[in-house]
């Protein structure tokens, strides 16, 4: 759509605690690959954005919260993705996001591997990805030094980067995940990936 020979990237704002990001991820990556668009992974703290806007995550004790839980199960089943609700849920994804950013500063391949493993540990197996120890073990399986990882997620520069990405997202109008922005057009939700795919198609 850009009219240039070098397609602009797709900015991919996500939070590791977003079940719909887990569900949409295979199609998001396939879409970007199909249109030869670089996918720029941008972890954010949705909790901070929610707090800023006075939103709250769906409460399982409300009609909407109960429905959304069923919806997630149905959507995962349709995508033939294993799904188990993480324990705890909703969970604090700050350490996972910092871990991703630190790995990205070392090796983009390890960072992507880590992201997939974190999402799978949380939503495929229903695990806990809030603990630095668990995350360091996952990073180790991606080939990273687990000790360096544990130190890395405490670095002020990494903490600042997550805050800056969250601010950037909020300023661009991001209020949920997954959110994809390309050539100024924003798409929110696992149920808008197909629409973005058609929008990207010549």
């Amino acid at each position: 759509m850009s009219g240039t020979n070098k397609p602009t990237a797709i900015d991919f704002y996500f939070d590791f605690s977003s079940s719909y990001t887990y569900i949409g991820l295979p199609r998001i990556e396939a879409m970007a690959a199909r249109h030869r668009r670089p996918l720029v992974w941008k972890p954010v703290s949705l909790g901070a954005i929610f707090k800023e806007r006075g939103h709250s995550p769906p409460d399982r004790n409300t009609s909407k919260g109960r429905y959304l839980y069923l919806d997630v199960l149905r959507c995962a089943a349709e995508q033939q993705l294993p799904f188990n609700i993480p324990n705890p849920f909703p969970f604090n994804s700050i350490a996972a996001a910092r871990g991703f950013l630190w790995l990205q500063s070392q090796s983009s391949g390890q960072a992507l591997d880590f992201a997939h493993r974190v999402f799978d540990h949380a939503f495929a197996t229903g695990g806990d990805v809030t603990q630095a120890q668990t995350l360091a073990e996952i990073a180790g399986r991606c080939g990273a030094d687990a000790v360096a990882f544990a130190e890395g997620i405490q670095l002020p520069a990494i903490k600042t980067q997550l805050i800056e990405l969250t601010t950037e997202a909020s300023q661009r109008g991001v209020f949920g995940a997954p959110t994809l922005i390309c050539d100024g057009e924003m798409f929110w939700g696992a149920d808008r990936i197909d629409q973005m795919d058609r929008w990207l198609s010549p």
Copy 2:
């Protein structure tokens, strides 16, 4: 899915002020027809349900509100539906809902014709469907007696019926529109019609 020879109906909870109901309506009707399921139109007051739950309709002055407006435009364009935002919007749909219920008590055909014309007047042409006079004119074009209509929407029995339908919806977990329930399975949103279609398929 019911395993009987007589398929159960699809309960269709809607509010005339719901833009996504307008956008989903052609596919909802086509789906019910394809699966030979009676479609039971149930107008509700989403405003009352929102109030009960402490929700509010999307505010156009927030990131989410602005995004949803763009999303509605894109979804309407994809469905090749004309779309103009009603004036006012959001609007009070109580009179339209009562009008539908009164017509239903007279002629189900006229009620369906009225429903389509109200949605089109609001969302295709961006008109105002809050006024009894406008609604009576629309009812007249459906073949109803406009004077009887204006009286009908003031009947205590009609007012009570809308309250009861709203209570029924709320008790069944409805929190938005369109909501479709069939054989105990609930689907919310114009973006879940295709999923329900697949769910209904043998």
